[in-house]
Structure formats: C-alpha cells, structure tokens
Symmetry: D2
Subunit: 294 residues, 4 copies
C-alpha cells in the first residue's frame, strides 16, 4: 500500500522499516528533517511538508504526546487540512489522551475524512521485527482495509471497539498495568534483598516459572540481577503516560490509587536523578526508600 508516516522517533523509525520490508511504499515526514533523511537508505521517500505524506492509502501519525499531535494534525498545514475526504485513512498510533482522540475523530468526521486509532504495545526492538501488538478502534471496514498495514507491524491486532478513543483507554490501561508490575517488583525485590536471606537468582527463577510469570518481568528481573538498567522507556515518558491514564480516569470519575502511587514514585525518581533511566528505575526508588544503596 501507499503509506505516509509522520513521527520518526525510535518507535516510528522501526515501524517504517517493518512496513518497507513488507513491501509497502512509505513517504516519511518528521519535524527534524535529519531523521527523515535517515530513512532514505531503507527505501522511504522523504516528504517536505506534512501534506506530502497525506496522499496515499493511509497516513500514520506516531508522535510523542498530545502537544505534538495538536500541532502536526490540527495545526496550520496539518493532517486535518491535507487528507482528502473519503480517501486516505489517518491512523493515529500515538499514545495520547482519549480526549484528544475523541476530538480528532469529531473533526475528521465533520470533514468526511477517514480516521481510526491504533496505538501499539511493544518497544523499538519488537517494532523492528514487526511483532507489536496493535490496539485498534474505529470503523470495521476501514480497519479491514488496512489489514496489510497491521500484518506488517504487529503479531496480533485487537479490535477494541468502534469508537476510536477506546483503543487509547486500553493502551493507557496496559501501560498502567506494566507500571504496577514494575513498582511491585521493585518493592518486593527491596524486601528480598534487604532480608539478606534469599538468593536473588532463585527469587527471579520463581518469578519467571510460576503463576507470576509474565513476559513483562523477564527483562526487568534480569536487570535487577545485573544491577544494570538498560535504556528503554524513559521515566519522563512513563510519567506522561501515567498522567494520561489518571487524566482519562478523572474525566469519568474513576479513582486509580495504584497509578497515583506510581506517579509519585516516578516524580521521586526524577527528583533524585534517575530521570534519564528506564522506568524500571522504580526499583531504585524502592531500594532507596528501604535504605539500600539504590
């Protein structure tokens, strides 16, 4: 298919390569042009303007936050002003607020433009292999039409509902659940380590082989054993996602005390100098609060 792709961070760049490898033709746009230029060697065409990326079968936006989407989609010369009615589908893959997705859906609908939401689960290395999980919500016909796109990007595609914000509610929920796993792992690991009794490797073995086993724990537990946090999902981005989840929950009056607690600990992580680390640095916060070297 002919696909435009806007937003070439580490996730976006990996996704573009997966699309190209699957035989799609891709026109890329990025605010800092050098990241777009770097995609040429993989076979992408570079767009000068947002509109140049909005003329194919679909244009995917994969941007860092609500502000970036507001600017690139709703701003002057933005996606909303570019896509032709009843033609190019705008697929919003960014992790943004359900409220913004609702507004995008309304604006696109007013303009008879095609739109649905499809945030993804997985890190850049998974995106590189086309093995993401896609959370999709919107018009089923449009989703069906775009099946080749998701075949290239994701190992599995979940249709969450027919209203686009639904996908973002689930995406934020998933991140909150991962955050809770990291927070809990951190607290428990502090207990296990400070007890001085437990072989940490045996503990991790329990974690990975029993009813607790989850793919989420696998890399993080290893990091704890290695005393080494790999760069991954940086704390400020994780904090942004926790605030998006809290905001979405507040909109409909749902208290989420676990996420409030994780938010507080992410802020503490930044305060004490871990702001550049992967958010599994929540374990360092737990260790520091337990008086361990951290």
């Amino acid at each position: 298919m002919d696909i435009g792709f806007i937003g070439l961070g580490s996730m976006g760049s990996a996704m573009v390569r997966s699309l190209l490898r699957a035989g799609h033709s891709v026109v890329v746009y990025n605010r800092s042009a050098n990241k777009a230029e770097a995609m040429r060697e993989f076979g992408a065409t570079v767009a000068r303007e947002v509109c140049d990326a909005c003329r194919g079968d679909a244009v995917i936006t994969m941007l860092s936050d609500d502000t970036a989407v507001e600017q690139i989609v709703c701003g002057d010369h933005g996606v909303l002003g570019c896509v032709a009615p009843n033609k190019t589908v705008h697929i919003s893959m960014s992790t943004i607020s359900p409220a913004l997705v609702r507004r995008l859906a309304e604006r696109h609908a007013e303009l008879n433009q095609n739109f649905f939401s499809a945030p993804v689960l997985g890190r850049p290395d998974v995106a590189e292999q086309g093995k993401l999980f896609a959370l999709v919500a919107g018009d089923q016909d449009l989703i069906d039409w775009m099946k080749p796109v998701f075949d290239a990007l994701a190992q599995k595609t979940f249709v969450i509902g027919d209203q686009p914000p639904a996908a973002n509610v689930v995406k934020l929920s998933c991140n909150a659940m991962i955050g809770s796993m990291l927070e809990t792992l951190g607290e428990v690991f502090a207990l296990v380590v400070k007890s001085g009794l437990v072989d940490p490797k045996a503990f991790v073995d329990v974690l990975l082989s029993t009813i607790l086993a989850t793919p989420t724990y696998r890399p993080y537990a290893q990091h704890l054993l290695d005393h080494e946090l790999k760069p991954g999902f940086r704390i400020p981005l994780a904090l942004k996602d926790m605030e998006l989840a809290l905001g979405a929950a507040k909109e409909i009056n749902v208290p989420m005390p676990i996420i409030s607690l994780i938010r507080d600990h992410l802020i503490e992580a930044i305060a004490i100098g871990y702001g550049e680390l992967d958010w599994s640095a929540l374990s360092l916060v737990a260790q520091r609060e337990a008086g361990l070297p951290g």
Copy 2:
C-alpha cells in the same frame, strides 16, 4: 516414605491425597478430628495425638496461621516435644511469618531436630494434581532426602536459601505480587467498564495474549467477564498474608506502599460485606469507589 501430615484444610487434604497417590504412607492429624477421619478412605492412617504423626521420615505442618503453628508445634505435646533428634524432619509448609519460622528453626536446632521450611504456591485444585510450586529453604542434605515428598506435591521445587525463613519471605512476596496484580486489574477494569467504549472481552483478550499475560490473570479476568467471583482464597486469609508481608518488611525497615494500599482495600472489602469472597473482590472495591454498581 513414612510421612506425618498435620493440618487438613482444603490445601492440606489435597496434598495428603497427592502423597498417598504417589505411594507414600501418611499418618494424618487434625484438631477437628472429622477432617482426619475423612482421609481414611484415601488410605491415610489417623493419629490421635500430634506425636503419633511425628515418628516417620518427615512430619509436614500445613496450618492456617502463626497462632495455630505456635499451638501445634510449640505447645504442650506439640511437634517440638515429639520428634526425635536427628531423625524425623519437620517440614513447615504453612504460610506464616519469617519471624516465627526463625524461632522454630532455633528451637529445633537447640534440640538437634531436623527442620526446614517449604511453603507452597497454588490453590487446592493444583495441590490435588500434585502440581504446586514449592519454595524451600534450609539444609540442602535434608532437602535432597525429602525429594520424593516434593516430587509428589509439586511440579517444581525452588531452593531459595539455606536459612528456613528465606522461603517464607519469598512466599509472602509472591502473594503480595499476586495481590498487586488483582488490585491493578480491578482498578483498570473499573476504568475500562466505566468508559463505556471498550469491549470487555477484547480487553481481556489483550490481557491474556500480550506482554501482560500471566497465569495469574487467566481465571480472574474470566470472573470479571462473568460477573461471578468463584470461592477461592478468602479475603480474611489474603489480609492475613498482606499483614504478614508488611510485618516481615517492617522488621527489616522496608516500606511497601503497594501492600499498604492492598491491605486498606481488603479491609474496605470486609467493611462493605465482601468478607466471604475470593480476594479478587478487590475489583468490586475498585468498582464501588468508581461509582459503578460493584
């Protein structure tokens, strides 16, 4: 092997049947004698006194809490007064405090009695199939000697350390992690349901097929879809375990805010009339706090 077994709750009874099925000979003791009598038909011998169950290769205690263990093990005519030095191994499988296990280890050591700790993960149906996970800590030679016992009870045995309380630290940690998963699932499910946008089945599908997938979620997610909490691990027992974890952590000055939060919600669950339900009723607390019917 010749095994004594003290404590015939739903877990203990299922474990006795697994031992019998594996060809061991088992002498059972229970404070309410009728539960012991019920084991006769499966081939167990019934002991009149604690001491009658303390004369084989091993005596296993599988009791409900610290108080029961204090009474049956440390009390008059208790296990400590019965087992012969350097002979019968006392294996403590109860979910009790590391502090009590430390005291048991010291008392047994003073009397030259064999002892180690081996709490288990898994519910009665898993115990019935001999598919528990055993968390074992103590003298390696004793543990090796008792391998046939664990082969009968557990699908996997983890050696956690050489000091008995270590196993209980890990057991309590595992329960805390499960509690956190249930609490988080409950909060997130309240968000998903109250949004009115998300197909709950699709959400559960995401939960069970992605990096979040864990065996722990499987039955609980189904309960949420069915609006039906199966009897399982009753809330007061779960609360006991959270308090044991908090107590063990406090002993070594480790704050565990996630577990404090779960403790508060379990108390709320009892306060509002869910005290007889499985502890996944944490989801009902979350729904009630979100103003959902609950």
Copy 3:
C-alpha cells in the same frame, strides 16, 4: 482608590462590597453581566468591557481557574491589552497555577506594566467582613502602594516573596493542608463512630480544645456532629486546587503522596454522587469505605 474588579463569583462579589464599604470607588466587570449589574446597588460602576475596568489605580482579577484567566487577561481585548504601562497595577487574586502567574508576570514585564499576585485565604462570609488573609508576592513598592486595598479586604497581609508565583505556591500549599486536615478528620471520625464506644461530642471537644485545635476544624467538626454538610467550597473546585498543587509540585519534581490520596478521594466523592457538596464530604467517603451508612 480607583479600583477595577473582574470576576464576581461569591468571593469576588463579597470582596467588592468590602472595597466599597472602605470608601474605594470600584468599577466591576463580569462575563455574565447580571452579576455585575447586581453590584450597582452597593455603589459599584459597571464596565461594559474588560478595558473599562483597567483604568484606575489597580485592576483586580478574581477568576475561577487558569482557563478563565487566560481568556480574560491574555485573550483579545484582555487585561494585558488594556492596562497602561507603569500605571494601573494588575493584582491577580485568583487561585491559579504558579506557572500561569509566572507567564503573566513575564508578559506584564515585557509591556512595562505593573503586576503582582495576591491570592487570598477565606470563604465568602469572611470576605464580606474584610477579614481575609492575603498572600502577596511581587515588587515591594507596588505592594506598599496598594496597602489601602488590602486594608479593606484582609485582616492580615503576608508578603511571601518578590516573585509573583511564590504567593500561589503558598496558597496551593495552604489548601492542600486544609484538604489533609479534612481527609484525616474524616478517616478518624469514621473510626470513632464505628467503634460505637466514643461520645462524638466528647471527641469533637478534644479536637477543639487541645493541641489539635485549629480554626479549620471548628465548622467541619460541627458539621460532622450535625450530619449536615453546609454548602461551602464545592468538591470540583477543591479537586481543581489539589490538581494545581500536584501540578506545581510536579513542575519541580516534588512528590506529594498526601495530596494524591486526597485527589483520589475527591474523585471518588464525585463518582458516588457527592459532587455538589462541600469538600468536607471527604468524611462521607471515609465513612462509606468503612461500611458506615455515609
């Protein structure tokens, strides 16, 4: 003095009356004109446009939130476009974010306009008596010049610092402390009531006569005894303030778990139907979580 006053909610209207009573001449502006008209009978002049209120010695803005201030101060034909350089002082008395106050200060400075921040503590009945507490931050000469204004409005004026946002940091801190008092009072009252042992009047007597005694408790404790929450500071406004405090703290990486907890409980209060009540309805949340009728 000649004073413009913008924002005639229950607080603003009471403050205008205090200014008039003290002999100041006041030009009022409000977006819904009827509230401005109602001030005529007390001696105020009604402005048609924002600019009509910006020509005296000072213009006070007393608006409900950041959005209102953005519109009335920064918007087209707003305060920033009206006040003459080095003349009329804009005094921002609204409870708004320190970040917005910082931006206002910068914009006013660029235009050589006089500006400082002066949020107030106290409810409408206190404003009516001119007995507020004023928290003031900015240029000392301007503050000194405006002394007659504060003499009319406040029983005491605190100079918090020389940078305007400082006053808002303190204002939000004070509200957070009041929130914490209400939350704690609610939780403790639930304990006291549910114990069934304590004479609630004796408990309130302890509260109001010992080292716990604070003017904050006086009205609220009475409400608890009367089972009657008087209308006062509505929960959605309280929630707004807690979020402003959390936002201001997050900006400089300060975790505030107590405020997170209050925020969660205010959301719960709205979720369960108490959204129109005074924020001391936090006690109803506590009672409900304790299984009391609530």
Copy 4:
C-alpha cells in the same frame, strides 16, 4: 490522695513530680530500679514490688507498650493479682491498644476491681507543668472520685465514654491526626523550599496566623526553619502508635489510608537512619523524596 505510680519513663517521672507538687503521696515502681530511686528526692516512696504500689486510693500505670502492660499488669505478681476488690482504682494511662484495655477491663471486672482508662495528650515538659489533656473513659463515679489526681496532672479532662477502651480509641486518633499534620507539613515544606521562591519564614508565619494555626504546628514549624529537630517523640514510638491505630481500625474494619502512608514513611525514616529523631523527621523523608539535601 495515696497513689501508686508504675512506669517512670520521661512522661511518668514528670507526672509523678506533678502529683507530688499537688500534695499527693506517691509510691513509685519501675522495672529498672534506678529510675524509681531518682524519684526519692522529689518526695516519692520507692516500692520493691508491683504490689507495694497497689495499696493506695489508686495505682496508675504509665508503660511504654502492650507488652509492658501485659507483663506488669497481667503477669505473675502483677497489678491484677495485687489490687484489693472494690478498693484501689487501677488507672491505665499508657498508650496501648483498645483491645488490651478491653481485656484489662474484663479481668478487673471479674475480680470486682476498680478500673478505668485515662491516656493523656502532651509531652514531658507539659506533664511537668501538670498541663496535660486527659482522655478518660469508664465508670463516672470512679472518675469523679479521682478528680484530684487529674487536677494535678491535666489542664483539662475529657470524659470520652463509659467503656474504658473508648479513651484509647480517641488517644490513638489524636496521635494519628498529629502524624497527619506532620506528614503534610513535611510534604508542603518540601514544595515551598524547592520552589526557591518562598520566604520560609513568611510561610511559617502564614501557618501560625491563619485558619491553619494549631498548637501542634508551632514547635515543628520552628524546627523546620532552624533545620534542627529537637528530641521529642521518637520515631519508633510514633510508629508503634500508628500501628496501634491501624490495628484498632482493622479490628472493626475501618481502612485508614492516611495512617498507612504515615506508617510507610516512618519505616522509611528508620531505614535511612533517622530512627533516633523526633517524628517530625517525617519532613526529612519528604525532603529526601523531593531530592532535597534532607
């Protein structure tokens, strides 16, 4: 009156001096005898045995915790075995669990012994001046009879109810409320300091002169300004009281999330080396979590 006094910590010793100064005759007992001997110079008689302090009009117990009371009151040769029926009143002034007070009341009643509970609010310097607040619960006739004792010790005596544990519920509630004030003050002070904008003295002035003003804040706010925590109520004792409050609340199924949070932070305080400080060191925990020097 003739009064026995058991428990001569810093509070007990000060109270004995107040009783002596008021003209009462006092027989003192303490487990470590040197503290009892030190009371001779103020006019007290020293008892060799608990029973020697149980023969007057009243015997007051002022002990550190439940364990000490269990031993001194319920143990061999303890108060329960010493006081004559319908004669000497046992007044329990210790901060202990309502559950233990209930048991004491039952045991005393079975033996036809006079008993009521009267924990106090205030620190040693206040006890020295006879200016405590007494929280009293039990039989009104006994309480009336003991009026001279309370006149010597307290500036005000509150009758909380007719069942002794009621007084301890209120005492624990008061300590929880003070704890919450300290925690909140600590969090807010971290915000104020880290903002770099606010004059801390001005902030404390606001705290002590407005609707927030409470005697509790006065010394603590000064400590914050002085960067100096005076020895006072040590953290492990504060933690004990928070756990007593949580335990009393759990007994009747009342969740108290604020106290859970304070408990976690007191544990953190001990973990990071502040275990010997006054519990206002909660502010140091808040500062440390905010990345301030702490």
